[in-house]
Every structure is written in structure tokens, then in C-alpha cells.
Assembly symmetry: C3
Homo-oligomer: 202 residues x 3
């Protein structure tokens, strides 16, 4: 169950990386490498923090096949240029939700306490996208306008609460992911911005 | 003792990250996330290199509360815009000193040999600030003008020497940190620059 | 044997980092720090992924002496400005070959399965250069034009095949490295580019 969610998350994150690479005018290889890095980055950070050696994502060939195929599909059938930015944001939101909750569930399964599991899950969800943005020289989404880390926190909290209440982990993970995606999309749609510091003029 | 020094270091590094985020015109969330990343980045790198799983900073809620509160305080009461750059440099210097020496002491306590402890301590001191600068697309301070890595090395060397001479670890860590901060501030104040390579013209 | 190849790889990667730093007009310290980071980054990532704590490169003083000395030599005797770019590319290609194959062999020696060893070896080969480019705010070579990750993959595959056929590891590692360097230089020389996505105009 966690593996399936992980693979879906990997596919959408790969799509977000590949779309961002197309926007940055990288070639086929660049698109595949950035898609793969975005897709696997968060999971590798999660496993390094948990002390899983070597990281799960480097042991199972499906974890490589999925992002490479996804990236190439995106490369050939990417949307119109004008819609690239929106497509990146959508894929990123879904990946954020799935990775944060599956990362939190994985950390709990490895025996991390609730608080630590939340933080590791958030790292798994945020890490891949941050890596993507740094590699193409953009300021990571998590630092920019609109609620991002809070959306991830909400999803992680749902998983931790579900674990505490002994709810079945599969559905809880999906519900948590859905809540994260919903908050993130609402924030994007309604342009929920937080204030900028005073005294900076325009 | 190490925990207190760590928390003070986390607070000043969070302040440096939050001030840099205000300068980069990030909003409240961006300021909090960058403050947190700057504050915890070095310690997480230290623990990953030492094989401490999960990293200490992800297990103790005070390590999260301190940087978030500090970042928000900075966000509301940051200095005049003109003084932001200087404030970032000052907070960064103090954080560099505290993290380098407490990181070196932590590595020694985990059984790392002196040479390794120096390098891991320097990574702990330099890592958070480098992450901060990369995330807001600046070239990290450690690569730019004025002595930086050397200041960290001096502090780490004091801790290692003190350990070898069996001096009490608390005071030695503080003295080492003070020496690092002093060298760094002197370098900033006197504009101690190293030469640039020949033949590059202006 | 692996240690010697590792040290040669460290020297050429340090040269690539130092040359890139000279191009970016960093001062002596910046040149030394970037040379060191480029040289040691890939190996540290490899050891973190394999769970070798603390990383080998932080335990042996030769791993620090070689890149620092190389960086300073490059700083004093760097080529004419016009040739800096080409020199960076050449040193990077050799480092890529040596690190990928020695990283793959190291991962196999630590018991990683063939597939995982390939990926960890590629990370060791690509990681240091990617870190170098991110730190001086360039888009990493692995994402840009010309075959890069594929060249690394070819070298890693040779090492894995050699291990499977029980060939002696030393020569196989060197042959694999030579193949990677050859592919990479041919790609640079013939400007082997992959296509860019359709519909992006000029």
C-alpha cells in the first residue's frame, strides 16, 4: 500500500520536475535527470535521516523506471507553454501531499516518535521540490508566497493522529494527502499570501 | 551545557536566516522556514555524518520552537533595511562560532578522532549558512571575500586541543566560539581579503 | 588501488572546482573551499548513502591535503582566462569517470547489489560537480547540454559487469573510467545534443 502511494507520488513529482525542466529549456537528458532527482530526492533524504542504508529508492528498480518513463512522457506530450507553470504547481501539490503522508507513515513504521515522524515526513514531501528549484536556480516554492509548509504539516498531523488512534494506515495516509493537496490548491487559487515584513517599501 | 550552547547557536542562526529572508522579501512563512532551515541545517548535516539516526535536532521540540519563535520576532522587529546586511553578518558570525565548537565537541563525544571531529564541527558551523545562501540564490559566504573557513578552523582546533589536554569541555567550547567570532568580525571590520587570481582583469 | 584512484579523482575534481572558482572571481579561500567541496562532495554523498559513518574522506588527512594543494596550485598557475571553461570541462570529465567507477566498486565492496551500486557510483561521480555548480549559481552540467549521466552510467555498468564476471577489480575500474571519459569528451567535442522540447520557440 505504501509502495503504491510512493510510486504515484514519485510519478507526479517526476512530472513536476520534468515540466520545470521543459520550462527551463533543458534537453531530453536534463528533463529525465531533473524529473528523477525531483522524484527521488525527498525519499532519499527521508531514508538518510532515518538511517536506512542504502535508501529504499536505490534498491528497487521500479523507483527508477517510473520517474524516467514519466519524464519522457512529459517531454513528448507536455502542455502548451502558457500552461506549464500551472501544471508544475499542480503536480507539485499532489506530490507534496503523497510524499509527506507516506514519509510520515514510513518514519512511524521505523519507530520514530510522532514529532520526529512529522518532521521527517515534511522533509520527504518538501525536499524533492526544493532540490528541483535549487538545481534550476529558482527560489524553492516552500520559501515563496502561499501556504506550503503548513499544508504539509496538516497532512503529517493527520497521519500521526490516525496512528495514535489506531486507525488503518492506508486510508489515513490517503486522507492526509488529500487534505494537504486541498489546502495547497486552495492557497494557490485564492492567492492566500502571508504578509511581507514592514518597512521594505515597494 | 552543549544543549544550551546549541540552542543559543540555533537562535542566532535562525535570526541570520530570518534577516536574510526579510532582505530577499520573503513573506512570514518564508521567513520562518528559512530561519528554521538555517538554524537546523548544520546540526542535521553533523548528525548525518556521525550516523546519529534520527538527528537529535529532529527529536527535541525545543530545537524547532527556538528557531520558529526567533524568526517571527525578527520578522516583526527587524532593524532598518539599511542595517539588515550587517545584522545578517553579525548573527552568522556568532552562529558559526557556537555551532563549529559545539559540533566539534559533539563529534568528539561520539568517538570521532580529532581530525574528523574538526571537519565535522566545521561542517556543522558552515553548513546551515551555506544552505541559507543557496536557497535564496546567493553565493555562500564561505566562498566569498573575508576569512570564514579559517575562523571556523581556529575554533574547532581550540576544542580539539582542549580535549587533548583534558580541559573542561564547557569553557573550552565557549572560548573556541569566542575566538571564531572574533576572527570573523575582525576580518569583516578590517576587510581582510585574500588575493583574487591573476590575469582576470576587472 | 581504490584509494589511489580515489585520490587522483579527488585531485582532478579539486582542479575543476578551483578553475570554476577562478572563473567566478572568488579569492584564494573561496578557490580552496570550492576545490575541496567539489572533490569531497561526491565521496561524502556515497558514504552517507552506504551508511559509512563517519565518511572515509573525513577520516584520512590525505583526502583533505590533496584537494587543498591542488586548488592552490590551480590558483597560482591557472590557464589563460579564455581556456578556463575548457579546462573545467576536461577536469570534470576525468573526475566523473574516476569517481563513478571507484564509487561503484566501493558500493559493491560494501555489499550493495549491482543495481544499487550503479546508482551510488553515479551519485559519487555526479554529486561533487553538481554541488560545485549550485554553489556558484550555475545550472549543474548533468542537467545541461551533452551526454553526462549516460557517460557515467556506461562506466558504472562496466564495473558491475566486471564484478559479475569476476574480473580483477583494479583494471576494470580504470577501463570503466576511461570509457566514461571518452564518451563525455566525444559528446563535448562533437556537440552531441539531445533535442529540446517542442513548442518552446526560440
Amino acid at each position: 500500500m505504501l509502495v503504491v502511494l510512493d510510486l504515484v507520488g514519485i510519478a507526479v513529482f517526476a512530472a513536476s520536475g520534468a515540466l520545470a525542466a521543459v520550462r527551463a529549456r533543458l534537453d531530453t537528458f536534463g528533463v529525465a535527470v531533473l524529473g528523477m532527482t525531483t522524484a527521488l530526492g525527498g525519499g532519499i533524504m527521508r531514508d538518510v535521516l532515518l538511517g536506512v542504508h542504502p535508501p529504499t529508492t536505490l534498491r528497487d528498480w521500479r523507483y527508477l523506471l517510473v520517474p524516467v518513463v514519466t519524464s519522457l512522457i512529459v517531454f513528448w506530450f507536455h502542455p502548451q507553454v502558457a500552461r506549464l507553470r500551472r501544471a508544475v504547481l499542480l503536480a507539485d501539490a499532489i506530490g507534496l501531499g503523497l510524499f509527506t503522508t507516506s514519509g510520515t507513515a514510513t518514519a512511524l513504521a521505523w519507530g520514530a516518535p510522532a514529532y520526529t515522524a512529522c518532521l521527517i515526513g515534511m522533509t520527504a514531501g518538501i525536499g524533492g521540490g526544493a532540490l528541483r528549484d535549487v538545481l534550476i536556480r529558482e527560489i524553492p516554492m516552500v520559501l515563496r508566497k502561499e501556504i506550503y509548509a503548513l499544508a504539509a504539516l496538516a497532512g503529517a498531523a493527520v497521519v500521526v493522529a490516525g496512528d495514535w488512534l489506531d486507525w488503518p494506515s492506508g486510508p489515513v495516509t490517503i486522507v492526509g494527502a488529500a487534505i494537504t493537496v486541498l489546502i495547497r490548491l486552495l492557497a494557490l487559487w485564492r492567492h492566500w499570501n502571508a504578509p511581507v515584513a514592514r518597512g521594505l517599501g515597494s
